[in-house]
Each structure stands twice: as C-alpha cells, then as structure tokens.
C-alpha cells in the first residue's frame, strides 16, 4: 500500500508552465542568470560549472565528500519540513544540531566501556534527545505564550554555539587546538567506503527522510501536523489538540536536526571543533523549500546543494572564481522560491 502511494505521488502529471516556474526551472534559471553575469569578466560560465561538477563528482573521493555534505543538510531539511508542515518556521536547526552533537559527544566521551553496537545507538538517542530538548523550548514558548518561534530559534542558535565553545575551552578542552577531547573509538561511526570519510550517518539521513515522509502522509500524527499547519482553526474545531501537535512537531524537528550533530561528531571530527557547522541549519531550509517541503524530494535537493557547496572549492582552485559564487547561486534560488511562494499566494 505504501509503495502504491509512493507511485501515485510520482505519477501526478504537471503542466509545462508549472515545471518552468517550479523548483527545477528556478534552479536552471539561476544558473543561467549567474552564469551570464560572469561573461563580461571574460569568464566562460560553462567552464566554471564544469569545474564545479568535476570537484563534486569527478572522483570517488569527491563523490564521497559530496555525500558527506549531503547527510547533515538532508537531516536539517527534514527537520525544517516537519515544522513548516505544522505551520511554523524552525530557523534553529543549527542550534539543535549543536545540542545533538554535544549530547552525542558526552555519551561517546564517557563510553561506559560499551561496545560499538550499544554505544552508537546510545549516542544516536542522545543526539535526538539533545536536539529535541533544544527544539522543545521554542515549541513551548510558542504554544504557551505565543512567542515568535523565528526569533526564539535564532537566539537559541547563539546559545548552543556558546555551549559548545564552553566545552571546547572549559571542561573538555584538549590543549592547544580549539577542539574538545575525542570520543572513544567505539563511538566512531562505521565508514561506508574504505579510503574515504563517508560515514554511516548518510544512511540515518536517508532513513529519517523516508520515515518522515511516511509519518506525514500515512499516519494520524502526520495528518494532524498537516491539518494544524494548513488550518489550525478547523483542526481545533475537529478536536485536534493544536498546541500539543505544534509542540510535538517542534520536538521532533529538533530531534531530527540533533541527529545531524551525531554525524559530525561520530563520523567526521570524533570531537566537537570550533565551527562545527558551516550553517547546515540554514542550508537545510533552502533544501526544504527547494524540495517543496516533501522529504523524499529533499533527498534530491540535498544532493544538489551538496554538489554546489563541495564543488565550489575546486571551482575556486581551477578557474579562480571565488567560492562566494555558489552562495550567490544559492541565494538566487532561495529568493526565487520565496518570491514564487509569495506570488502564488496572491
């Protein structure tokens, strides 16, 4: 039945105009517009984009790096989707990622003499709980006092990074480098492809995206989340506990973002460095919007933005165009998507 439903969703035909003004059309247009802007400087945009692709997908290692990048932004995107669908903005995925990372670090550092089979799931639970708890705070403030969740989550991002900085410079300081003491080796996430850094959290991210899709579209809880997001008044009249659903959505969203922290700690750094996240939380919002708030499409859009970001470095090396170009493209796409949303509402 689930498979049928997936097929049904994919089989929906879309008029050509909607494709052109849809996410794909916007992506293509953004590349064209930004590319044309390079021409007056005597730069061939095709060369630039080729270098970008080469850097992101040109070698097994490059592909691995792209996938590594895709995992956390797929998780933060899924987190954003859960809140969006419930009618709220979670701009705090970065903070929730940090708290998830801290929780995973504390479990992995203490290790309790456990083997990997037990320790890694414990770290995952801790990461989810850490992020979830951090998400519960804006969720509570919003549903209880009507506090604006955008402002609260942005503020809490700062608090979370400060907590990490405290660990780095205080109780878990590792000496001279700005990084905490490492977790036990039993807490290292398994590597998927030998010789690369590609770790198992990619599977977590894919699993979470699929599960979130099923949750939203095939469970009563997901149905209630969507009803609350689309029409909270009708939801309330129909006996849906609107505030509880909104609160739980925020906890779930935070927990999912927390799992991104698990990957960074358990799979990459094996500790928490300064600057753990290069804005994964915000990139996640772009991924979510590009995917039309569908967790399955988020897999594709996360891969796409990962290609962009990973390819940016080699593009800078090879053709001398600064990395910032990628941010321009990304900004272009995001603004176009938001503008499209705003125009549609008119």
């Amino acid at each position: 039945m689930t498979a049928d439903a997936l097929k049904a969703d994919a089989a929906v035909s879309v008029p050509i105009r909607d494709v052109l003004t849809g996410p794909l059309g916007i992506v293509v247009a953004s590349f064209v517009v930004v590319g044309l802007a390079l021409v007056p400087f005597g730069i061939n945009p095709l060369e630039v984009y080729a270098a970008m692709l080469q850097g992101a997908l040109g070698s097994p290692n490059a592909i691995a790096e792209t996938l590594i990048y895709a995992a956390p932004i797929l998780l933060t995107a899924t987190a954003a989707i859960v809140c969006f669908r419930a009618g709220m903005w979670n701009v705090g995925a970065d903070g929730q990622l940090y708290m998830g990372a801290i929780a995973a670090l504390l479990v992995g550092y203490n290790a309790f003499g456990l083997s990997s089979v037990v320790l890694i799931p414990m770290m995952a639970v801790a990461a989810f709980a850490g992020g979830g708890a951090w998400g519960a705070i804006p969720g509570f403030l919003r549903t209880r006092y009507g506090a604006n969740e955008v402002i609260v989550t942005i503020m809490m991002n700062f608090l979370a990074t400060i907590c990490a900085t405290y660990l780095i410079s205080g109780p878990l300081a590792s000496g001279t480098t700005p990084i905490t003491k490492p977790i036990a080796a039993e807490g290292f996430l398994p590597v998927l492809i030998d010789g690369t850094r590609l770790h198992a959290n990619l599977l977590t991210a894919l699993l979470v995206a699929v599960l979130t899709y099923l949750l939203l579209n095939h469970t009563v809880f997901g149905y209630e989340i969507r009803a609350v997001g689309q029409n909270p008044r009708a939801a309330r009249v129909a006996g849906i506990p609107v505030k509880r659903i909104a609160f739980l959505s925020f906890v779930l969203s935070g927990g999912i973002a927390g799992l991104a922290g698990l990957g960074e700690v358990g799979g990459i750094h094996h500790a928490i460095p300064d600057q753990l996240s290069p804005g994964f939380g915000f990139t996640g919002i772009a991924v979510a919007l590009l995917a039309n708030l569908n967790p399955l499409w988020a897999i594709a859009s996360a891969l796409f933005l990962a290609v962009l970001n990973v390819g940016a470095n080699s593009m800078q090396r090879v053709v001398g165009v600064p990395v910032a170009l990628v941010w321009v493209i990304q900004g272009f796409i995001l603004l176009s998507l938001l503008a499209r949303g705003a125009l549609k509402r008119r």
Binding site: H218, V220, R226, N231, A234, R236, V237, G239
Partner: protein, 522 residues
C-alpha cells in the same frame, strides 16, 4: 428587444436599451473542469440583472472573468461596444466596473472614510487630504442615498453597514457597473430590505447592477431581468415581469422546488440529551457573551435558536463543543458534565458539529475530499491501525459520502477547495452524520447554498431528528427555523429570552422577541 420599462422612472436613464457591458461566449476551464462554456450575457444601463444558478453552476467564475480576477480561455468582454482586456481587477475598476465580494475587503481599524479612499488618491497625491476627500465622498454618498457614518472604524460596523461601505468604495472609484456576489447571504432580514432599497436607488441613477443570488424572492422583487446558469452554461435570460419564480427554479435545477417537506410530527419527546443550566461565559475581552443560559434538547427533537446574529448563538455552540470555557453553570450531555471538558473528549461523547464558517472552521481547504472526510474521525478504528491511516479505507469512505450525499466532484482525491459551497457543505454534513451523533449542532447549515442543496440539508436534518438525534439548529432564516424546529429558543444579548413551541409560535412573535420588544416565560 424588450424594453425594460419598470426602471425607466428616472430621467437620468436616457438610454434604457443601451447595452453597457456585454460578455460574448466566455469559456473558462480549470484543468478538466469546464467552469464556463460559451456564456453570453448583456447588461443594460441602469438595470438590475440577476444571475441565478445552483452552487457550482459557474456564476462565481463568470463574475471573476468580468472583474478581471480570472482570464477567460476564450470569448470577449465589451464595454459600450469596446472590447476590454481585463488582466486584473485594476483594469476592471479603471473601466468603471466595481465588485462587492461576499467577503468584504476592508481594513477594520481604519475609518469608513479612510477605507473608501484607500488607494484612490482622492485626498491628493502626497497627503492623505481627508477633509478634501470627505467632501467628495459625502456628496457621492448623499447622491446615491448611502447612509453611513464616515468617521466610525469599520470594525465597529454591522455587516450590513460594511457592505454599504463596499458599495461606496466601488462608486468612489467611478463604477458604473456594479457586480454583487450573493450580497444578501450575510445580512439580517432588516438589512436585506435596506440593501434592496439602496440597489433600486442606484439603478435609478443609471448604475447597472449584476446581482448574483440564490434568493428568488429578491430577484422577483427588484430585478428587471434574470439569467439562469446551469452546469457552466447560460440557460437563458428572462424579463422578470414575464416569468414566475417557479419557472426560474425549474430552469435552475431542472425540477420544481419541493414545497417544505410535510414533516413527520414528533411522536413523543425522547430523553434529555443536552442540558444547559444557568451557563455564563465570557468573550476574549472579558465581556459577557452568555448570560444565565438554560435550555434542554431532547432526543428526536430539533431545538431552533433564533436571534439577530451576534447575540450569543456562536458562543452557545462553542461552549457545548468545548471551544469556549464556561464561567459558571452546568453543561450536561447524556449525564456527562462537559463544561470545560476538552473538545476531543466532547466529540467522542457523540457531539457532531456543522460550523458556521465552512472555510475557516469546517474544512482544511488544501486537503482532498477524502482527507477532509476523516478530519473529525481520523482516530476511529475504521480509518487507522496503530496510528497508520488506511488510505484505501479513507477513500472508500469518501466515495461512500460522495455517493450518498450526491457530492459533485472528480473523485475523492479532488482538493476540497475546488468544490462549490453546497458540495463542501454536503461533505461536512455527511461526515458528521456518519459519526452517528447523539447531538448535532448545526450553525447556519444552509447559508450560501442554492435551493437544491438547501432542500437536501433540510431533509437530512429532519431524517436525523426522526432517527432520534437531538439537534440544535442555529439559523438567521426564520423560515428555516419554523420549517424544521420542534421548539424555538430566542437569544438576545447572550440571554435566552424565550422558548416557544413551534405550534404556538408566530414569526411576528419570535421577531419581536429577537428585537427585544417582548419577553416570554420559558
């Protein structure tokens, strides 16, 4: 061409036969749905032209095309012989076409004057220029006989007054053609009378009026011509003087209106299902909204609630469904105290609810028919196992409702947004009835529906009553209350000022109680 003499009472109407606005072969489709097919209609100067049709007949789409909100796929619109390209309502306004929507587009915190001149530049280019604007607006209001206090904030006005503001807005923008979309649906009977007087005055002054409505009485009273739409096509246009209400109804629905069903009279009253005892409740600003309300609804009876809108009827329903907290007093449903019990719990005890505002309170417009069908019963075992929704069961249920309640649509996956108001209401009615309620609260269940749908809803309510369901019917249509209720309770200023048996009640008496001229002991 038939000369419309009834309206040629004012000298200013020099060209009675002059066609001001003409729509030629307008066709508009939404995907596979043909909303309008080759609709041709003309509007003469200074006439009131009624457009009749069932819900979903395509009236709204047609009006939207005339007002530039929708672009027709083919066909053209001519204003005094000149073809118009209407890309937006702005173009329509510039061409002298104004529209009064069913849902008003006013800023509640601004004064009437500010609302009226908003965006017109009437006060001057840079400054608000209220004084200059006032003179112009005042003169216009006087000329067309539209009485409204220009200084009051719009939020403080009654619905009828707000509607007059909308009309004034259109006139200030130079409208010579006025489109009104079901203008009387939201009005009290007194306000309807006043509106009709205003419309007649306007047409007397040469304004051409296109009146979309369901209410035949109004058409017969003020319209000079009536066009009937059915299934997206224009069936025909009649001179009202040469036709009868019955003929128009037959054209609309292809069958004659059934006379109010001879109601199976109540055998014996069943047990008390709902009892309110001296219930007090307060609104958001601490004002008393329910004042010592006591009433009982028995199994197998319809208790009608009469009252001018805004006298506590909505709050009464909200208190029973747990949406509004009770200050003091008891609400008892089949022996369970339900005052200040959470809504889900109350619904589970067998309370069904048809909310007043379908779009805001009854439906999730972005959901499909099937999804809306389980909005209240999503937890029921029939639709979920261990929290997983059975989509096949959900669709089957929706299909059953579509069949049983004759909901016109393209299947259970159609977005509910695409359905007409009547079909949306049928879905709500169906899903609530399917819950096998003990008590049904029906708030304005036929508001905005066409004749066919109204009959249908009435028949269903009567059937439910005969099956032993207790029904609380809130309506602003006295005819409806008298046609359906076993007893009628009248509310005024949050109080139940009287409860009378229908057999002993008169429309006059109830009307007087609503307005506070009489008080009966319950």
């Amino acid at each position: 061409m038939v000369r419309v003499s009834r309206l040629a009472c004012d000298e200013s109407v020099t060209y009675v036969d002059d066609i001001v606005l003409r729509a030629v072969e307008i066709t508009k489709t939404y995907g596979p749905v043909v909303a309008n097919r080759d609709v041709t209609l003309d509007l003469r100067a200074g006439e009131i032209h009624a457009v009749l049709g069932e819900n979903g007949a395509g009236k709204s789409t047609f009006m939207k095309c005339l007002y530039g909100l929708e672009t027709p796929d083919s066909g053209r619109i001519e204003l005094r012989g000149q073809e118009l390209g209407l890309a937006s309502p702005n173009d329509a306004i510039k061409s002298g076409i104004g529209m009064v929507h069913q849902h008003f587009m006013l800023v509640p915190t601004l004064s009437v004057l500010e609302n009226v001149i908003l965006g017109t530049g009437l006060g001057g280019r840079w400054m608000l220029g209220l004084r200059r604007a006032r003179a112009a607006v005042d003169a216009l209001a006087r000329r067309y006989g539209i009485a409204v206090d220009l200084d009051l904030p719009v939020g403080q006005l009654s619905v009828g007054e707000q509607q007059r503001v909308e009309i004034l807005k259109a006139l200030v923008r130079g409208a010579r053609v006025l489109i009104l979309d079901e203008p009387t649906a939201v009005l009290t009977p007194q306000e309807v009378t006043q509106l009709l007087v205003t419309l007649r005055d306007l047409s007397g002054q040469g304004i051409s009026i296109l009146l979309v409505t369901h209410k035949l009485a109004e058409v017969m009273e003020i319209a000079s011509r009536a066009s009937v739409m059915c299934a997206g096509q224009l069936v025909g246009t009649w001179d009202v003087a040469d036709t009868t209400a019955e003929e128009l109804v037959t054209q609309m629905i292809g069958r004659s209106r059934s006379t109010p069903a001879s109601r199976a009279t109540r055998e014996t009253r069943g047990d008390i299902v709902l009892e309110l005892a001296v219930v007090n409740a307060r609104g958001p600003r601490g004002n008393t909204v329910l004042n010592r309300v006591s009433l009982r609804v028995h199994a197998g009876e319809i208790l009608g609630i009469a009252g001018v809108e805004g006298n506590g009827q909505r709050e009464l329903a909200e208190v029973i469904t747990g949406l509004l907290p009770v200050d003091s007093g008891d609400v008892v449903l089949n022996g369970h105290h339900i005052d200040n019990v959470a809504t889900p719990e109350i619904l589970r005890l067998g309370v069904a609810n048809i909310p007043e505002d379908r779009h805001k309170d009854g439906l999730v417009l972005d959901f499909s028919i099937a999804e809306n069908a389980i909005l209240v019963s999503r937890d029921a075992h029939a639709f979920q196992r261990a929290g997983v929704i059975g989509h096949a069961k959900m669709r089957r249920f929706a299909n059953q409702l579509i069949g049983d309640f004759k909901i016109r649509c393209n299947g259970p996956d159609t977005p509910i947004r695409n359905l007409s108001g009547g079909n949306q209401q049928k879905l709500i009615l169906g899903r609530e009835i399917a819950r096998a309620p003990k008590l049904l609260i029906a708030m304005q269940p036929t508001r905005g529906l066409d004749v066919g749908a109204i009959d249908y809803v009435h028949a269903e309510l009567t059937k439910l009553r005969n099956e032993g369901v207790a029904i609380l019917l809130v309506s602003s249509e006295l005819d409806e209350l008298f046609g359906l209720s076993d007893r009628i309770a009248v509310m005024r200023a949050g109080c139940v000022v009287g409860i009378v048996d229908r057999s002993e009640a008169t429309i006059d008496g109830v009307g007087r109680m609503m307005l506070g001229e009489e008080r009966l002991a319950s």
